[in-house]
């Protein structure tokens, strides 16, 4: 019998590790006791499970071990890990499992929000820091916003971003969460925006538009004059965004 080529061996080995059920033909292709190849299968899968548990702890607690196991089996068999960075399997699994979990009537309605929130939070923790443009001092409302490059927005229907025991209650409260990494200690935080704050933030994300022009654009879109409540809300929002380093400053 002709000896299999190296790539045939590696493909059979890979299928043994990733298929939902290892094929006898693949096990037969490899020399030695099948228990040893199944040991490799357990080792490969155990490492990936561990990474997903680290990245999606509340999701895993919500869906339970059986659904996680089914989702991992499907993900590994149908797609497998496509990134050389093992940390990326968290987002890959989340994206693969989300349609199935979202369609599962036994799971709570906030589950989809939770998956996207945790997967994005995991991603933000590792994003490369692309050095933003230099800011000028003092902060200038007539300047252009300089953004923290790690900010990612997640639209949610439920308050999965809350920091208290109520975060897993399925209470509908549609809003947007900005997930960002604080530069000084690399910790990841969330900041919730209501509709008005969200409109202002979007206006300040338009390239080359100043803070002042962004605020004017929001007012114009609403057909409203700058009432004191709007000005107070704008000032509070801006102070929060700068203090949290979601916006790191202004430039000319």
């Amino acid at each position: 019998m002709t000896e299999p080529s190296l790539v045939e061996v590696q493909r059979a080995f890979s299928r043994i590790c990733l298929d939902a059920t290892p094929a006898e033909a693949d096990l037969a292709l490899l020399h030695g006791p099948r228990e040893r190849w199944l040991l490799y299968r357990r080792m490969v899968r155990s490492r990936l499970f561990g990474m997903v548990r680290s990245g999606l702890p509340r999701t895993v607690a919500t869906v339970g071990e059986a659904r996680l196991d089914a989702a991992m089996r499907a993900y590994l068999a149908e797609r497998g890990v496509t990134s050389r960075y093992i940390r990326d399997c968290v987002q890959e699994l989340a994206a693969h499992a989300l349609p199935t979990w979202s369609a599962d009537p036994a799971l709570p309605p906030h589950l989809a929000d939770l998956v996207r929130y945790e997967a994005t939070k995991w991603q933000v923790g590792s994003l490369e820091w692309v050095e933003p443009a230099p800011v000028v001092e003092p902060f200038d409302f007539e300047g252009v916003p300089v953004h923290n490059p790690t900010v990612r927005a997640v639209e949610v229907r439920f308050r999965v971003d809350r920091d208290d025991a109520r975060r897993d209650e399925p209470v509908a409260e549609p809003h947007r969460v900005l997930l960002y990494r604080r530069p000084r200690d690399a910790r990841v935080f969330g900041y919730a925006l209501d509709a008005r704050a969200s409109a202002l933030y979007d206006a300040w994300c338009v390239p080359e538009r100043t803070f002042a022009d962004g605020a004017r654009a929001v007012l114009a879109a609403r057909g409203a004059a700058p009432e004191p409540t709007f000005v107070d809300a704008l000032a509070g929002l801006l102070a929060d965004l700068v203090e949290r380093a979601i916006i790191v400053g202004s430039r000319r």
Binding site: L6, V9, F13, H31, L39, Y40, L48, R84, E128, W129
Partner: protein, 284 residues
Amino acid sequence: MNTRVEGVGLGLRHDLARELLERRPDEVRWLEIHPENYVARGGRFELNLEEARAHWPIVTHGLTCGVGTASPFEPSYTRELRELLEAVGAPFHSEHLCFGGVDDTFLHDLLPLPFNREAVRTAAARARELRDAIERPLAIENISYYADPLDPGGWTEPDFLLEVLDAADAALLLDVNNVYVNSLNHGFDPRAYIDRIPRERVVQIHVAGHFTGKDGVIIDTHGEPVCEGVYDLLGYTIARLGPVPVLLERDQNVPPLDDLLAEVRRLSAIYERGVAAFEAERAA
């Protein structure tokens, strides 16, 4: 700051990084990192590496460019890898004699190669490609393996390893724990294995702990303290090879830093005794 990679080092692992960087213990002479944890990544890992570089020499040890991989490595990754190695001033880079994926799927484990001529050719070609891409010396590490994918046909593990090193003209990262684990799982004399290693090829040594499964298979987990057998084999190895830097690997079940430092001190004592024996032998 110590600038030379010598004596005993420790892996900069996330679980112990904060305490290690705050205490900066003298007994740890250098640090090893896995580039995959730092390439294309910011955040805590980046901050920790910046801090570590200010105090220790850094050595890099890859996890996903096993040189037995059938397909070539993507140039975009090897370019970023080269930039990282340049940034940390890595004197050389090491990868494993294994494969870790096929057809653009990554298994994120160190999977064994058949001990045959085709695997030698492939490993040597990949090793040369990688060395050229990163523009610095490459060391290849012997792995723990639990079975040979094809009938060995007369080749032993050191036969295969030495063939690859010669064909690739690569250095060796000698994992003493892996030699020990393989000697128990496959029934050979670990000292005879060490005796076959050409001294001039060895640039670094790894030691670690392992775990014995219910079926008696010994698994290289990096999750247990170093055992007496590995300490003994390390002493033998250093006495034969001389002052090769030694890294304590601990990636799972990471204990308090003081426990690891106690292991580092014991390793350092073995290292010093081994070097003294090596020099006495040379002087004789």
